[in-house]
């Protein structure tokens, strides 16, 4: 978290520690106090409200080049995917269909998640190698391809928490399970009315790997 808010938090925390953290507060007296610098180096997460977004900005217009350079080989020039690497955009309106396409723009509920994930894990095999500006640019380019922002929209730490994703209301909470409690511990034991017709065999589908 290199955001201004976090810097202030870190600063106030140092004062707090200096004033109050004595060994007697700690039950076991193990471990070391983390410096704000140490925390800032590892604290890279970004929350939906923009909390943690690092200072930086980028537009889709400027993102096209960096996207082509570091993303397109696996995800296609237009985010359509390549081989078995996943598509990043498209699939709008497909979620209730037989073959839903869950992409960043059709399914992901928050823009912050796209930034967080790309910065921490992409490009695949070269994690945390992009600059903050490059990451904003790539996110802006994806959002532009998904018709969520305009090509010249300046995406930044100030507004990433305000981007409305198309599927932001697509998720249900809380977990309703156990959603199947028909028998409450006393299921049928004898002469149960069930169909025992074989309607499919894995052998016929023939996709199971075989030992050499």
């Amino acid at each position: 978290m290199l955001g201004l808010v976090r810097c202030i938090l870190g600063f106030s925390l140092i004062i707090f520690i200096a004033n109050t953290a004595t060994a007697s507060d700690r039950k076991f007296n193990l471990g070391q106090i983390a410096s704000s610098e140490e925390v800032a180096g590892w604290d890279i997460d970004v929350r939906p409200d923009g909390f943690g977004a690092p200072i930086g900005s980028g537009t889709a217009f400027s993102g096209e080049e960096i996207y082509a350079e570091v993303c397109a080989a696996c995800h296609g020039d237009f985010g359509e995917g390549a081989d078995r690497w996943p598509p990043l955009v498209g699939g709008e309106g497909s979620l209730a269909s037989h073959d839903p396409e869950k992409t960043t723009t059709s399914y992901w509920p928050f823009a912050s998640t796209i930034f967080d994930y790309i910065y921490r894990a992409m490009p695949y095999g070269e994690a945390q190698s992009l600059s903050y500006d490059e990451t904003y640019e790539i996110v802006a380019y994806l959002l532009y391809m998904g018709d969520i922002i305009e090509e010249d929209f300046v995406l930044s730490d100030k507004n990433i928490g305000e981007i409305e994703m198309p599927n932001k209301d697509g998720f249900l909470l809380p977990d309703p399970r156990p959603d199947i409690m028909n028998t409450h511990g006393n299921p049928c034991m004898t002469n149960c009315q069930v169909s025992t017709n074989i309607i499919g065999k894995a052998r016929d589908i023939d996709v199971t790997p075989e030992d050499e």
Binding site: T20, D25, R26, F28, N29, L30, G31, I33, V39, D43, D45, R47, F51, C74, R84, L95, A96, S97, Y107, W108, F110, S112, T113, D116, Y117, R120, A121, G125, A127, G170, F171, L172, L173, D175, R177, P178, D179, I180, M181, N182, H184, G185, P187, C188, M189, T190, N191, C192, V194, T196, I198, I199, K201, A202, R203, V207, T208, P209, D211, E212
Partner: protein, 429 residues
Amino acid sequence: MKKNKKKELSTFKKINRRDLIIGASSIGAFSLTPKKLLSEEANPENLPPNLPEWTQYLGDGVDVNPYGMPSEFEGHVIRRNVEWLTASAESSVNFTPLQDLEGIVTPNGLCFERHHGGVSVINPQDFRLMINGLVDREMIFTLDDLKRFPQTNKFYFLECAANGGMEWRGSQLNGCQYTFGMVHNVQYTGVKLSDLLLETGLKEKAKWVLAEGSDSSGMTRSIPIEKILDDCIIAWAMNGEALRPEQGYPARLVVPGWEGNMWVKWIRRLEFGDKPYMTREETSKYTDLLTSGKARMFTWVMDAKSVITSPSPEKPILAKGLHQLRGLAWSGRGKIKRVDVSIDGGKNWKTAQLHSPVLSKSLTRFTLPFEWNGEELLLQSRAIDETNYVQPTISELQKIRGVNSIYHNNSIATWLVSKNGKVDNVRLG
């Protein structure tokens, strides 16, 4: 006559020894030829009244295997993957060979692997666990620090929420390993997070934890504070030895009964906050899409489930007469209370024997003796946990969730035993 025999045996021994040396130098050689090792018939020269070579001659000394490996004849007991499932082996999964295991403990080298950026290799001297955010003191712990805290030792199963995920629409993979093998069960040694947090203190506003891995995927999940304080552990050992690299060496998070994705490996940081972080893994993945197009989110608990490990597609019935049906059951909500087995596709059920120990949120072993006389069987097992939840059929799940959930398929599987003893994964309807 006796002399001649000795000579023959001696020749046999030489060949065998060379094989052993080749085998010992490369585990890979074993795994490439498991079928060959298994299909060899018994050698009559080793059977009564003859003396086998191992009875007459010396075997390896104590200096040969500083770290012991399974018998070369167990070379078929390995993790296996499905190549077409994923784009790259570094972000992929393999499966535990449940069909070959006994009891409830999964040997460390057979615990299934799921990585998102390959296996990180970490010198324990370079390990640091950072705790930051809404705590009284932001702190950093070394591995030695963690080991000085009060210790806990617990058996827990870890199941990937996508275990059986390929079977939502129909029977697709013909194996116990491929359809149920994203689960393992080991004893963890570690420090309870509730103890660790006594050191950092916790702000009142802290409601969520972001657990973050140090691997190249930077794996992150949000976990509610109640669960963290209830039974979560930072573990550094499994089954009595250090975590295996592929299981998060030197330390991982243990989230008992909840989906495996949350058990962050190679853990480097816990951030406390007042809201969930909505990471990639808990929004775009590990959400359960329903037919309405809406998806359930934060479906953490692994519901009760069971599987017959033998007979199974990998374990055909080879002879008529008495057999011991074997299986495993587990529940993320507590202990297994009962397991029923059907041999006629669910029309009639018998209660199987549970073997101790029966532990909360742990695999539980069940067996049931049965006679086979060459008839067709439709084998099923049905777990009931201590909350009285009964493992459902796939059609019960499909009615409520459709077929696009991917995750949390805990339905009853059916193994068809044919008249020739072969076993198939089939779907009834």
